[in-house]
């Protein structure tokens, strides 16, 4: 693994959407006045008749999507995650999840790394909001290449899907040959001392933390969870039973997110496995440089490393 190149995760979505559109005439896209930012512009250019500009109206965005799905369309709808699903959760619940319409929701600019725009635009609760909904699939790819694959997989998936993606360029840690399906968690590094379970932008940080830990004499197993719901319990359990302690990492609130999902697995299975959750700890962010903010709020490889040491200590 190397992090020599980087690219925003949303760029992969943009490429994937065009490819999905080429593969299937039923793929359509809707946006709420953020077409370039969410990377729907290439699709709009190539398929102008299959792109719909909804305006700054996120409740309408997702419900128009439900109607398009009812007409048999594969509808991708996108805005900033703070606004979608932030503003239109009930519409998603009723007209998409309960109504079983397989709309593809794309939340852009998720996480604290949105940076200078500040707390209003740093969506941290989207995983919890979407994970609580029956029938919803929740995805957080770790880089732009995986986001492209996830987009193509979503286009074929018959369920409602939510995918979150970050604004800033993040390291590319997968390649064209790396496997991806909706559902499985992937063991990126094998190790016996501690499990690092990460999703989205925190997966590259977990990989980096594993390198640092190796130098510290700790062999960390890195489990990447691109599908937060439904969770690949089997892969996670296998790792936890092997290492006996775990650190979860996500660029989101620890309440209701991936860390909560891992805690649920531990409790449901009756495991005595210490868990330390890295994420936003029940507070809002603030304006700042993205990298500075990630460090400030403890969302980087160094903090994962320290948490891993603490988790290993608790095992004893």
């Amino acid at each position: 693994m190397s992090d020599t190149s980087s690219e925003p995760i949303r760029a992969g979505f943009g490429r994937g959407l065009v490819k999905a559109g080429q593969l299937d005439d039923n793929v359509v896209a809707c946006c709420a006045d953020l077409t370039g930012s969410v990377k729907m512009d290439a699709f709009q250019k190539e398929f102008p008749d299959r792109f719909f500009q909804i305006g700054v109206a996120e409740q309408n965005l997702v419900t128009v999507g439900a109607g398009l799905a009812a007409a048999g369309k594969v509808a991708f709808v996108s805005s900033y995650a703070a606004f979608m699903p932030g503003r239109c959760w009930e519409q998603i619940r009723t007209t998409i999840c309960l109504n079983e319409q397989p709309v593809k929701l794309i939340g852009a600019h998720a996480g604290i790394s949105v940076g200078p725009d500040g707390a209003t635009h740093q969506m941290l609760e989207d995983i919890a909001l979407m994970r609580a909904l029956p029938n919803m699939v929740v995805l957080a790819p770790c880089d732009s290449i995986e986001a492209e694959k996830a987009t193509l997989a979503m286009a074929k998936d018959k369920r409602p899907n939510y995918m979150r993606m970050a604004r800033e360029a993040t390291p590319i840690i997968t390649d064209e040959k790396t496997p991806f399906q909706i559902g499985p968690a992937y063991v990126l590094e094998k190790g016996a001392d501690v499990t690092l379970i990460a999703t989205g932008t925190m997966t590259p940080q977990a990989v980096k933390a594993a390198e640092l830990l190796y130098k510290d004499g700790i062999e960390a197993e890195v489990v990447h969870v691109p599908t937060i719901k439904p969770l690949d319990v089997k892969t996670i359990l296998q790792s936890l039973k092997k290492t006996g302690c775990v650190v979860s990492a996500e660029e989101a609130q620890i309440t209701g997110g991936l860390g909560s999902a891992v805690a649920e697995v531990i409790v449901d299975e009756g495991l005595a496995v210490p868990l330390i959750r890295i994420g936003m700890k029940d507070r809002f962010g603030e304006s700042g440089d993205p990298e500075q903010l990630m460090r400030h709020f403890g969302l980087d490889a160094q903090h994962i490393r320290l948490a891993a040491h603490a988790a290993v200590e608790r095992k004893k």
């Binding site: 359509v28 109206a57 409740q59 128009v64 439900a66 109607g67 398009l68 009812a70 109504n99």
Partner: protein, 281 residues
């Protein structure tokens, strides 16, 4: 079907609504009774549909955005032959296909799941855009909405969008009965001038007596004839229509009749039915 036949069906539907609500012991009375003429017109004249093939791919689409009034739809569907009328008495009971608010995946023939207000019109837009891409621009989409529902912002987001794409296959029918849970619409949140509002948003607007079946049929025919613009039919209805002690009384918005009240209501409706029979003879 003659107007007399349709009026008799509407009275059957009203009686079914009373029986369903009495058996369910909860639900909305006034709205469904007021909508009985509109739903009779839709299911027995206006809609292209097939009760034996609810998913027929040439059917018109009827979205019910005011999901709380669904008893009228269930009663109309049963009378049209979608399912046995006996099933109506399962309304709101455990295991029933007739949920308190409509669920598409439970009962064939329902086009969407609704209850939380304000989301039907935007789904109609999605359907109209999708059907246009599917080369089925002839399929009509009807959406019923409550007037209290127009308090929801989602409605006006959709009202702005439909004219942008010239979605002339959409006909919105607003049940203008002037009541909502907390009282008269004009005291809860004034809606007037409603006609001007829809026109300002770019809609073709018709105002009709929503308890006049012929007027409903004529207005929908006119809506189909209008091109380039969606149509909004503001249908003035009497809440609780057909049952004297329920008419115009907002207290009946969200409650069901007890046994004595149901008996009285059914007697009134049977008298009305007799009157319709003799009047047209």
């Amino acid at each position: 079907m003659t107007t007399k036949q349709l009026e008799l069906i509407a009275t059957d539907i009203r009686q079914d609504i009373i029986k369903m609500l009495e058996a369910a012991k909860s639900g909305h009375s006034a709205g469904p009774l007021g909508l009985a003429d509109i739903f009779t017109a839709l299911y027995f004249d206006i809609l292209k549909h097939n009760p034996k093939k609810p998913d027929w791919d040439e059917r018109d689409i009827l979205l019910m955005s005011n999901g709380h009034c669904v008893p009228v739809r269930y009663a109309a569907m049963a009378n049209a032959g979608y399912f046995d009328r006996k099933e109506l008495l399962t309304l709101r009971k455990l295991g029933s296909r007739l949920q308190g608010h409509p669920e598409r995946t439970k009962l064939p023939g329902l086009e969407s799941t609704s209850g939380p207000l304000g989301s039907g019109l935007s789904q109609a837009i999605g359907l109209a855009l999708g059907l246009r891409l599917n080369n089925q621009p002839h399929r009509q989409i009807y959406v019923t909405m409550g007037d209290g529902e127009l308090d929801e912002g989602n409605v006006w987001e959709a009202a702005m969008l439909a004219p942008k794409y010239n979605l002339d296959t959409i006909t919105a029918i607003v049940d203008r009965n002037n009541i909502q849970i907390d009282g008269p619409t004009e005291s809860v949140l004034p809606l007037e001038n409603l006609k001007d509002k829809w026109e300002a948003f770019g809609w073709h607007v018709l105002e009709i007596d929503g308890n006049d079946i012929e007027a409903v049929i004529d207005a929908c025919a006119m809506a189909r004839a209008v091109t380039e613009k969606p149509t909004c039919i503001i249908a003035y209805t009497v809440p609780g229509k057909g049952v004297d002690f329920m008419e115009y009384d907002f207290h009946w918005h969200g409650v069901a009749p007890d046994h004595a009240q149901a008996k009285k209501a059914l007697a009134e409706l049977r008298t009305l039915q007799g009157k319709i029979r003799s009047e047209h003879e």
